[in-house]
Amino acid sequence: MSQLYAFTLGPFADMVSSPVFLVEVIVGGIAAGLMYSLVALGFVLIFKASGVFNFAQGVMVLFAALTLVGLIERGLPVVLALVLTMGVMVALAFAIERIMLRPLVNQEYIILFMATIGLNFFLEGFGEMVWGANVKKLDVGIPDTSFMVAGVQVNKLEMTAAVTAAVLVTVLAVFFQKTRIGRALRAVADDHEAALSIGIPLKTIWVVVWAVAGLVAIAAGIMWGAKSGVQFSLSLIALKALPVLILGGFTSVPGAIVGGLLIGVGEKVGEVYWGPLVGGAIENWFAYVLALSFLLFRPQGLFGEKIIERV
């Protein structure tokens, strides 16, 4: 009986007893969640605009971070290195469109997905070949220190990442809904042939989308790289972005934020308050269990498009 109490009500009692600490945990969870959202955003962009699930998004984050760090290590000033990295990601988008996407126009989406798996391995190997496999430190001038806001301890780096993610998501959400190119992008994701027949140049659209996803990958790479160093396990963040996508909906830009927040906060709160009761490691499985339950009850996520088929 006391075990039952300890499990269900105990943690809530803990939360209430020290509210400042609860707020800190939640804030930490928000920040972590927004960093997941940054990665998920790249997926959403490409999926929303071309119907392709980009298996290589995590590696693109890694590759962007590697390029940036590599250039800084070679002695370039940070700003120049950043601009050059952006150029590299745009060039990568051109190359991907030319070599991978153009030959596969109008193919089944599963074939395009397999192509992105190949892209994943290629970028991983290429990155290692060019920049080496060592763990690198990324310093963008934002200290990993904490400061106090209204009595709550807040991490500077995490806050910067959170603000960046929020800004990016807002800009992109407005972009997709309100502008004509946003409409064109949604049309391309819906039906390639129809989009071609009304005059949308598929090639240009794809280059634009993959370039933007590449730039978002740079942002994600900077934040994650500054937090835990640029190493090859960075590409595994993509795995954490999947539950975010399932929760928020694969085609929803605001969904990427909401999903990220839910998972980030849920993870942290679960780990801190229920972790000690079950021996820890809630952070490892919470996101996936939540995603699984969503798949059972609401597969399109909170904001995704419901599959409508008139038979």
Binding site: R180, R183, D191, A194, I198, G199, I308, R310
Partner: protein, 261 residues
């Protein structure tokens, strides 16, 4: 009258298309004059949709040329053909199923929207004003085609007949010079067919659009077309006024059949 004005808008010259061993079109030629309505008829598998696909750039023939306004356009991709002022509808309805009817028709306006994509994304004012103008035009088309009630419905949820109407709206929204319609009346009852005929004729009257349509319903063909072209097994077997083609023995053999007492 200058030579340019008398020149046909669309010239199809000796087009041949094959898919492996299947000869879809053999040596097909036809001219479509400016402002004409031409109907393409024939049994299933005759190559009618293939012909439309060649004209709109989805297929490329191994022989022959397509001249649009006097210039050779055979090897253009579909979106390049669209930018020349050609709009089309598809046999199996190629709407954007996840987008609303309004958004679908707005995509038809894409080629008419001026300005750079990037500036459009950043600058709110001028882009908004342009968007409003296009929206007004699209609303006129929605009124014209009487589909106000379903403006916000996702296109994938509409019944087939309404989807066809929305596709026509999207094609008209592009203010095309040449409109290609692939079986626009398929799946409609008599009343709906009358409505569609009225829309097509009104659109033709108001915008002066040249129209080429594929149609199986002979009464529709008789009513609205200026000229008729008949295809069978990838070849042109007759061409002329509706009455002439209807009584042509080759066409009767291949397609129309005779009434048995």
């Amino acid at each position: 009258m200058t030579d340019g004005a008398r020149r046909p808008l669309l010239e199809v010259r000796n087009i041949s298309v094959a898919f492996g061993a299947v000869q879809a079109l053999s040596d097909v030629s036809l001219d479509v004059a400016r402002g004409e309505i031409v109907a393409i008829i024939g049994p299933n598998g005759a190559g009618k949709t293939t012909l439309l696909n060649v004209i709109s750039g989805f297929y490329h023939p191994y022989q022959g040329h397509i001249l649009f306004d006097g210039k050779d356009r055979t090897d253009l991709r579909p979106y390049e053909v669209a930018s020349l002022g050609v709009a089309r509808t598809f046999q199996n309805v190629a709407l954007f199923k996840g987008m609303s009817v309004l958004d679908n028709i707005m995509t038809g306006r894409l080629l008419k929207m001026r300005g750079s994509f990037l500036l459009d994304a950043l600058w709110w004012g001028p882009a908004m004003k342009q968007e409003m103008e296009h929206r007004e035009f699209v609303e006129r088309i929605i009124d014209f085609l009487e589909i106000q009630a379903i403006r916000k419905t996702p296109a994938g949820r509409l019944p087939y007949g309404l989807q066809k109407r929305v596709e026509l709206a999207r094609a008209l929204a592009a203010e095309p010079t040449l409109l290609l319609l692939d079986e626009p009346m398929a799946g409609m009852n008599v009343e709906e067919k009358e409505d569609m005929c009225r829309f097509i004729l009104d659109g033709h009257g108001e915008f002066g659009t040249t129209i080429a349509l594929i149609e199986h319903d002979m009464s529709v063909v008789m009513d609205i077309s200026d000229r008729v072209v008949a295809l069978d097994y990838g070849r042109k077997i007759a061409e002329g006024t509706p009455d002439a083609v209807r009584t042509d023995p080759a066409v009767i053999d291949a397609y129309l059949g005779v009434a048995h007492a």
